[in-house]
């Protein structure tokens, strides 16, 4: 069946009984009126002729213009006739008003008409007119008209060919102001684009586990403590058997994802749970959600299930040891979400220290006590070198080879395994002890770099908070001199998870560090506090686009828009661009297309330890001594 069949079928439609009845009724009414008129003596002279006598003998343009005028449309007529009317261009009063002129005030010429059309649309109008004339076929065009005052209106015109005695003799445009319609159409299109481009908040979910991230969970706890009573459970997990080094990062991620799945099964979908640190899991229980099972019992159940469960990784089985800390809070406690989280972590550590499954705090700790505890943890970690440095290769996409390394911090956990530092750094930043950590990193990183061949370029992280310290620049330049590092091989990345605390001091550091010869980079650009204004006044050499924009790049038009435009912006400002979290080959191709300078991620290379100092091995031995104790805890 095609269009012709459908048209034919539609033709065959018989009037419905209803329509027939209606027609009969009309016919009867007419007949009765006629009869009545006859009976009253009216004489019916002749049938009425519906033809408008005015349209009978006027020329085509006038007829069209008159019809247009009746529906408030304007006309422009352009005739090519010979003699007096040759090349005559004229517009109706209505059209003059559409263009913003009082009727009769402007004599129209082709040149003047072009001037009245918005410059960007002039060529489209010309093309439409030429096509209509060339093909002898009606056309239409929408363009912007510029009023004498400068305001712009949208006008839609139908273009038609006039004929005189069968020969084309001119062109007539019938048009009206469609500004409102056009704006509504543009708005509809914008809204459609917007809803297509709008993404869910990817930063709220951890990539590996799908659980809320530390930041999101902290906010949730904070929201809960303002409105309701409740409790926070923090569960700490660690491998009960010593993990061999053969287990790769993917293996670790697999276990983490498995633990997350298990946790979600235990607590159900009503409670908020989140990944609050490497091997640290948070569960938020509001008072109304507590039900029959107390929070303590829930914590014990989580710990028991974790300890009983047999995890598999790379064809090997693995058991986890777990401890839980519980902090109860009442609504409106002064402690923030972050404070409660820190207390929960402390309670979990207490449980581990005492060798019990669950340790319950009935109320949040005192603020001073908490801060001191956090501070001393950081200070202790720095003093006892509970860190290690890893290096992750960065590929120069133009040369297609590794030319740089980012120095990354790893924190030693209780068993001596190295874990990602973000939870630790978050705590250190919040209690204002990040400077000590940064100094440790700078000192040790430069020492290691100085010992090496210095063939690569090294990128070292500094927290935005540390920049407020006036002594930092001296410390850095002194360390560079002491370890004999070539300053041109160094880039300092300002991590933007915390606000740059003191703008002036940061600017002084940035300027100073570049005078030494080092480069400056902005890390995690686009998600932290980094404002675009920084690009203007901080002497930045490199911007690292946050992984949130990169992980899904190939599938996500919004990410593509952000990355491609950001690259353009940075290059215009003379800044190079790096992409973090590059995970596959297609992304690399796309990044090259956008002109991104560097790529970093698991695709290009995972972080690897650059060195292990003697002290670390001592730590490892100390931890191995603890093994029997933990086996007992497991039962």
């Amino acid at each position: 069946m095609d269009l012709d069949d459908i048209l034919a079928l539609a033709e065959t439609r018989e009037p419905s009984p209803l329509e027939l009845a209606r027609a009969r009724r009309v016919a009867r009414t007419v007949q009765s009126e006629y009869d009545l008129s006859l009976a009253e003596g009216y004489e019916i002279i002749v049938d009425t002729d519906p033809v408008d006598p005015l349209t009978a003998d006027i020329d085509e343009p006038t007829r069209i213009a008159r019809a247009a005028q009746l529906v408030k449309r304007g006309t422009i007529t352009w005739t090519t006739g010979s003699g007096k009317t040759a090349g005559l261009l004229s517009w109706s009063d209505e059209m003059a008003m559409i263009f913003g002129y009082a009727p009769g005030t402007l004599r129209l010429t082709p040149e003047r008409l072009v001037e009245l059309v918005h410059p960007a649309d002039a060529s489209a109008v010309r093309a439409a007119v030429e096509t209509a004339w060339g093909q002898r076929r009606p056309g239409e065009v929408t363009f912007r008209a510029v009023h004498p005052g400068g305001s712009v209106r949208y006008v839609h015109c139908h273009l038609e060919i006039l004929t005189t005695a069968g020969e084309p003799s001119g062109i007539i445009a019938t048009g009206h102001d469609v500004t409102a319609v056009e704006l509504a159409r543009q708005e509809r299109r914008r809204l459609a684009t917007r809803s297509e481009m709008l993404c869910t908040d990817a930063a709220a979910q951890d990539l590996v586990t799908g659980l809320p991230t530390r930041g999101y969970f902290t906010d949730e706890v904070d929201r809960a403590r303002r409105t309701t009573d409740g409790a926070l459970i923090v569960v700490a997990t660690e491998p009960a058997t010593r993990l061999s080094h053969a287990i790769t990062d993917q293996g670790h991620e697999q276990v983490t994802a498995e633990v997350a799945g298990l946790l979600r099964t235990i607590v159900g979908s009503d409670l908020t749970c989140g990944l609050v640190g490497p091997g640290l899991w948070g569960v938020l229980v509001a008072a109304h959600q507590e039900g029959t099972e107390t929070t303590g019992a829930l914590a014990r159940r989580i710990v028991d299930t974790f300890r009983r469960h047999l995890f598999t990784v790379q064809q090997r089985t693995l058991r986890l040891n777990a401890w839980a800390g519980v902090v109860r809070f009442t609504s409106g406690v002064p402690a923030t979400g972050f404070d409660l989280l820190v207390d929960g972590e402390h309670a979990a550590r207490e449980a581990r220290r005492k060798g019990v499954a669950v340790h319950v705090l009935d109320r949040p700790a005192q603020a001073r006590e908490r801060t001191n505890r956090c501070r001393s943890r950081v200070v202790h970690a720095v003093a006892t070198d509970r860190f290690a440095l890893y290096a992750q290769p960065i590929v120069d996409l133009a040369l297609n080879q590794i030319t740089r390394h980012e120095i990354l911090l790893r924190v030693r956990g209780n068993t001596g395994e190295l874990v990602a530092p973000w939870a630790f750094l978050d705590m250190a930043e919040r209690v204002g002890e990040i400077l000590a950590v940064d100094k440790w990193v700078i000192d040790h990183a430069l020492e290691l770099i100085g010992q090496g061949a210095q063939t690569s370029h090294y990128q070292v992280n500094i927290s935005g908070k540390s920049l407020a310290d006036p002594g930092l620049l001296t410390y850095v330049s002194e360390a560079i001199r002491r370890h004999r590092v070539k300053p041109e091989c160094l880039t300092f990345e300002i991590t933007e998870t915390a606000l740059i605390e003191n703008r002036n001091e940061a600017l002084a550091f940035a300027t100073g560090i570049r005078e030494i010869g080092c480069h400056l980079a902005l890390d995690d650009f686009g998600t932290g506090y980094a404002a675009l204004a920084y690009l203007k006044y901080l002497p930045v050499d490199l911007v690292k686009i946050d992984g949130v924009f990169i992980v899904d790049l190939c599938q996500s038009p919004p990410d593509q828009a952000v990355v491609s435009k950001l690259v353009e912006l940075c290059h215009t400002l003379g800044i190079r661009v790096a992409a973090e979290c590059v995970q596959d080959e297609q992304t690399v191709t796309l990044l090259k297309e956008y002109g991104v300078d560097f790529a970093q991620g698991y695709r290009t290379g995972r972080p690897a330890p650059i060195a292990a100092s003697l002290k670390h091995e001592v730590n490892t031995i100390e931890l191995e001594l603890r093994f029997p104790e933990r086996r007992i805890a497991m039962g």
């Binding site: 095609d2 439609r13 038609e160």
Partner: protein, 98 residues
């Protein structure tokens, strides 16, 4: 093969005249108003000249609008899956249902 890559399912033939008219009305609404008006009037039996007089169009335009309308309707019909002609199919007889 993803579901959206599969060829469209063959369209069921319209059952009666009323359905055909409804379908047409839906398509005509998607046409520019002028095209739809001209097409509809020509189907109702008005001559080109009459249409030009009533709608206030140039005499030559009516033909152009009619062609354009028909072309767009055909496109819409093909989008909806009405592609193969009955009249072309019937003489062969091989595909007809017995």
């Amino acid at each position: 093969m993803a579901p959206e890559d599969l060829p469209p399912a063959p369209q069921q033939d319209l059952a009666d005249a009323w359905e055909a008219q409804e379908t047409l009305r839906g398509w005509l609404q998607q046409l520019p108003p002028r095209h739809a008006e001209v097409f509809q009037m020509s189907r109702e039996g008005f001559s080109n000249l009459e249409i030009a007089r009533i709608l206030g169009l140039a005499d030559t335009s009516v033909r152009g609008y009619k062609t354009a309308a028909r072309r767009q309707l055909r496109q819409l019909a093909e989008q909806a899956g009405y592609t193969d002609s009955d009249s072309r199919r019937r003489p062969g007889g091989a595909h007809g249902s017995r």
